[in-house]
């Protein structure tokens, strides 16, 4: 019996070594020795043929060997699996420096991106976003805005007229008029959109983008205008901005002003962005002219309001460091691709 056990153990060791890290071969070794008809199993079955007093000891020895073989088989199988996995990983490694299979990236036009940025700020401040037609009539574009026929301020915006008398709006202000005609204050709105002027040179395109804001309510003052400008531009530039109002003339506001923001690039000390002045000129503003209220069905005795405007294209150029206006309308993909989303 003892001899038989030593032989099995020797044969087993040899077989297991032979199996190496091949899991199927290892399993075959298990079947050969520990399977139902395996060598050790058969030995167990022969226990009955031994004299009674030898049986316990022989049984114990067989069991001990069995446990030992089982343990060695498990370790071999574990090693084999680990070895297999290692080989699998090694074989599956790829060059991670090769280019990825990437979907295309498109882009939003810088004017769109800037407009959205501004719109988001105004929405956060409680403004609604309104739109109106780009083809307007004389009433909404001029007369209601205190620019009657033959008003000299009409020179400032040489107008594209259409055959039949309509025109392409020269500013987004008609949207303010339309909104006021449609509903009573309180009104707190912006109107972004395309506008058209008969101009084409290095600093003017015949089509460009404006955004105007209008706030009408009881007891709205220029102080509110200043505060709103400060809130908008501080958010836009991401830092506390100081506003400067200067007297300025626009027929649809009184008092009227132009507004500048302290240059956030140089903190007012003068740089390329502010052309050395420390201030960035952003647009016109003022208190809504009573004549505009009257034309728009709002009682100027009960309500007051402010309005201001800005040019989205110019702000987009400033924001992205674009130095040539024509790039905005040329649609060169090498330009557009720089604004990937």
């Amino acid at each position: 019996m003892r001899e038989a056990l030593s032989r099995i153990e020797r044969d087993f060791a040899e077989a297991l070594t032979g199996a190496g890290s091949d899991t199927r071969a290892i399993d075959a070794v298990r079947v050969r020795f520990l399977g139902r008809k395996g060598e050790l199993t058969s030995l167990m079955k022969q226990l009955g043929g031994l004299p009674k007093e030898e049986r316990p000891e022989a049984g114990a020895r067989i069991n001990e060997l069995k446990r030992s073989l089982q343990g060695r088989l498990e370790r071999a199988a574990d090693d084999a699996r680990a070895e297999g996995q290692r080989r699998e990983i090694e074989g599956g490694a790829v060059d991670i420096t090769l280019p990825a299979r990437r979907p295309w990236s498109g882009s939003l036009h810088p004017v769109t991106a800037t407009r959205r940025e501004l719109e988001a700020i105004f929405r956060e401040l409680g403004f609604t976003v309104e739109t109106g037609p780009e083809v307007e009539d004389d009433f909404h574009n001029f007369q209601a805005l205190n620019m009657p026929q033959d008003h000299p301020a009409r020179d400032d915006s040489d107008t594209f007229y259409l055959e039949g008398g309509l025109l392409l709006r020269t500013h987004t202000s008609p949207v303010q008029v339309r909104t006021m005609l449609e509903r009573q204050p309180p009104i707190k709105m912006i109107c972004p959109g395309r506008v058209y002027r008969r101009d084409l040179d290095a600093t003017h395109l015949p089509m460009f983008h404006q955004l105007e804001a209008l706030v009408v309510g009881e007891r709205i003052s220029m102080a509110d205008l200043k505060g709103t400008l400060e809130a908008v531009w501080s958010r836009f530039f991401g830092t506390r901005a100081t506003m400067r109002l200067r007297p300025g003339y626009f027929p649809f506001v009184e008092p009227g002003c132009e507004y500048d923001v302290s240059c956030t690039v140089c903190d007012g000390s003068g740089c390329r962005v502010c052309k050395g002045s420390g201030w960035i000129e952003l647009g016109g503003a003022g208190m809504v002219h009573p004549a505009v209220f009257e034309a728009s069905g709002v009682d100027p005795e009960r309500y007051s309001g402010f309005a201001f405007g800005l040019g989205i294209d110019r702000i987009a150029m400033m924001r992205h460091g674009i130095d040539d206006l024509r790039l905005l309308i040329e649609n060169d993909v090498r330009f557009l691709d720089q604004f990937r989303t």
Binding site: P99, W104, P133, F160, R183, K226, G227, V333
Partner: protein
């Protein structure tokens, strides 16, 4: 306007440094855009707003400096000595059109000698951007620059019967202005005439045959007030914008005419040895005093958000040349100086107070208004579309609303109303309003291909303009998305070649776009009714209600010919899409059973469409909810030329009970049989 700093200091002797003067003007709304040395003088380039014609002369600017620095203006020069002879006995003035001319003054200077101007005149003119011509012409410019009131000199010998008439031109009347141009006038034009013919276009330009010349010795001086609208209409219609018309259009000071006359007379005597007649012909309607305007003191605070005290308000108005009187505790009333055409109502006075006290005193506060029932009416679909197309790899382009005439004719259905035309386009290529977004994108694609771009993917979201259907109406301005695509259909990669874009790429892009904008929308494909597209490689999509949502495909060969690479385009009508119901996706319980698939390998003849195959498949009752999908298509050996092989995957999704193999097989056979019987489709085993 260009102003001489030296002249300003003469008119208002402020001691402040030049920089302070510049700053004062700017902070009062007369923005100094530049300062330039001109000899011993400095020229200020001042941006004078359209409502301040009084500041189109040094006198008005000096008034502002006087208010700003609290320094009194210098006295006007003493009157010139005059001859006994009275101008009223020599010159007659008749105003036939009092609407167009409310005041006309005339003086006469005899024995004028034309010659060069002295140096100080030339220097002063130069500082204001003008060149010296001769003493008489220079004097008329000096008076204009001093007062802001344009004056005109006539050669009195050429004025028939010594009569000046202010009348409407006769329809078709002809006149040569002193620039040598002949004009054909209309009854809308106001002219200055003598007994016989027109001698000047009122407020715009003098006539050639009454012009001052070398031989002139009798100078008739005109200083008048002409109606702004009338001058503007004539100046614009004839394309004559002059220093005079610029000022008359904005409104000159009717009470400033005597001063303008006096200066002219004085300088003609001084610089041209003239002999002025005494008196002045002054034809006018009765004097109209503007105002009074009442200011409620509370309005200052209401509009500015702060208020100086009542005395400061009164002082501010007084400093600006107004004559305020306290009516009671709350109100001030004031007459308005004749030169301040812009001061008409209360709000105008509030601005004057703000200007005088300084805009920097306006405090900062933050308005918190709520209009809870108001919602933005901006087009969210436009924004979604931008995001969607950018994420799909397209670059957003910007196109003009204007295109060349006929440029979009083939991009709109035949019979569409003609594009709206601009009356005065800036270029031929920008002369009508687009009815389709695509022509602009086509231009952009060409530009990129010319510049060597290997591929172009652009989109634009914008409005097109469909002419009004009724007289006097507005055009419809539907919002559209336009797409242009050339190059590969998907990104190139070292792992495999990317095939060129084809119709199925375009279809995928458009259909996915439509489905994401309006989940649940049912799309019907049909032919495109637009001549720009290749009839065999394009399609249109309609909603279940038949409304057209989008169209796209390859360009028609006759257009494609002119472009460097095959171009694919699509246009989506966002405004129509917006009207389609937006179905919020509703939850359906998840199936507990796994789906079963079977592939049908079919052999189709050329005329059998995929849609007809699917239609037949759908007509057979399925043992469970089913869907069909093409998974492979093959053309070539060993198939005949007119055949194609198509693999259709059948996916059954049982809901309650697992399907038995026999049930599935029976269904499969039924499908094959139906295809064979109804379409003659064979099966490839």
């Amino acid at each position: 306007m260009l102003a001489s700093l030296k002249w300003l200091r003469e008119l208002c002797p402020v001691e402040a440094a030049d920089e302070e003067v510049v700053e004062a003007l700017t902070s009062r709304g007369l923005t100094v855009d530049g300062v330039e040395a001109r000899g011993p003088d400095r020229a200020l380039e001042i941006d004078v707003p359209a409502n301040r014609p009084d500041c189109l002369g040094h006198l008005g600017l000096a008034r502002e400096l006087s208010a700003a620095f609290g320094v009194a203006r210098a006295d006007p020069p003493p009157a010139a000595t005059t001859a006994e002879e009275k101008v009223t006995s020599v010159v007659r003035v008749r105003i036939d059109e009092p609407e167009g001319c409310s005041r006309y003054t005339a003086r006469l200077v005899r024995d004028v000698r034309i010659g060069p101007s002295p140096g100080w005149v030339a220097q002063r003119l130069e500082a204001c951007g003008l060149r010296s011509i001769n003493n008489v012409v220079d004097i008329s410019n000096l008076v204009l620059l001093y007062t802001g009131n344009p004056i005109h000199f006539f050669d009195f010998d050429k004025i028939e019967e010594g009569l000046i008439r202010v009348r409407s031109a006769e329809e078709g009347e002809r006149m040569v202005t002193l620039d040598g141009t002949e004009h054909r006038l209309t009854a809308e034009d106001l002219v200055i005439a003598d007994a016989r013919r027109a001698v000047a276009l009122a407020g715009v330009m003098g006539g050639a045959d009454s012009e001052i010349g070398e031989a002139t010795s009798e100078v008739l001086i005109e200083a008048a007030w002409f109606q702004p609208q009338s001058v503007r209409r004539t100046a614009r219609r004839l394309g004559l914008s002059t220093d005079a018309s610029h000022r008359f259009e904005r409104g000159v000071d009717p009470e400033g005419l005597p001063l303008a006359q006096e200066l002219a007379v004085r300088w003609l005597a001084e610089l041209a040895a003239g002999r002025p007649l005494s008196g002045m012909v002054d034809a006018r309607r009765e004097e109209t005093v503007p105002g009074p305007v009442t200011l409620r003191l509370g309005q200052v605070e209401r509009l500015l958000g702060y208020s100086p005290d009542a005395n400061s308000i009164v002082d501010a108005l007084r400093a600006l040349g107004l004559h305020p009187k306290r009516l009671d505790d709350d109100r001030v009333t004031t007459s308005v100086p004749s030169w301040r055409v812009d001061l008409q109502r209360e709000a105008d006075l509030v601005e004057e107070v703000a200007r005088h006290c300084g805009y920097e005193r306006i405090p900062t506060s933050r308005v918190a208004l709520h209009s809870p029932d108001d919602r933005s009416r901006s087009n969210a679909l436009g924004e979604q579309s931008r995001d969607h197309l950018a994420a799909a790899g397209f670059h957003e382009a910007l196109g003009y609303a204007m295109i060349a005439e006929n440029e979009d004719d083939r991009f709109v259905p035949e019979g569409t109303a003609a594009a709206m035309r601009l009356t005065r386009p800036i270029a031929e290529s920008l002369s009508v309003l687009r009815r389709s977004i695509l022509p602009g994108l086509l231009r952009a694609a060409d530009l990129n291909l010319r510049r060597g771009a290997p591929q172009v993917r652009l989109f634009e979201i914008g409005r097109v303009f469909l002419p009004p259907t009724q007289e006097g109406g507005f055009p419809a301005e539907p919002l559209r998305a336009g797409i242009i695509w050339c190059g590969p259909g998907r990104p190139a990669h070292w792992g495999g070649d990317a095939a060129a874009v084809d119709l199925y790429d375009v279809m995928g892009l458009v259909e996915r776009f439509l489905a994401s904008a309006r989940p649940g929308v049912t799309l019907e494909r049909g032919p495109v009714a637009r001549a720009a597209f290749h009839p065999g490689r394009s399609l249109a999509w309609s909603a279940a209600d038949g409304r057209l949502l989008a169209w796209g495909g390859a360009l028609h060969p006759s257009i494609q010919r002119d472009h460097a690479q095959p171009l694919w385009m699509a246009e989506i009508d966002l405004s129509t899409l917006l009207d389609e119901p937006f179905e919020i996706p509703q939850y359906r319980p998840l199936p507990r059973l796994t789906p079963v698939t079977r592939d049908l390998a079919l052999v189709l003849s050329a005329e059998t469409t995929y849609a007809s195959v699917i239609e037949v498949l759908h007509s057979i009752d399925a043992p469970a909810p089913v869907c069909f999908d093409a998974t492979d298509r093959y053309v070539g050996q060993p198939l005949r030329d007119d055949q194609s092989s198509l693999t259709v995957r059948v996916t059954l999704s049982p809901e309650e009970t697992t399907l038995k193999e026999v049930e599935i097989e029976a269904y499969r056979l039924e499908l094959i049989q139906a295809l064979a019987q109804r379409l003659g489709v064979g099966i490839r085993e």
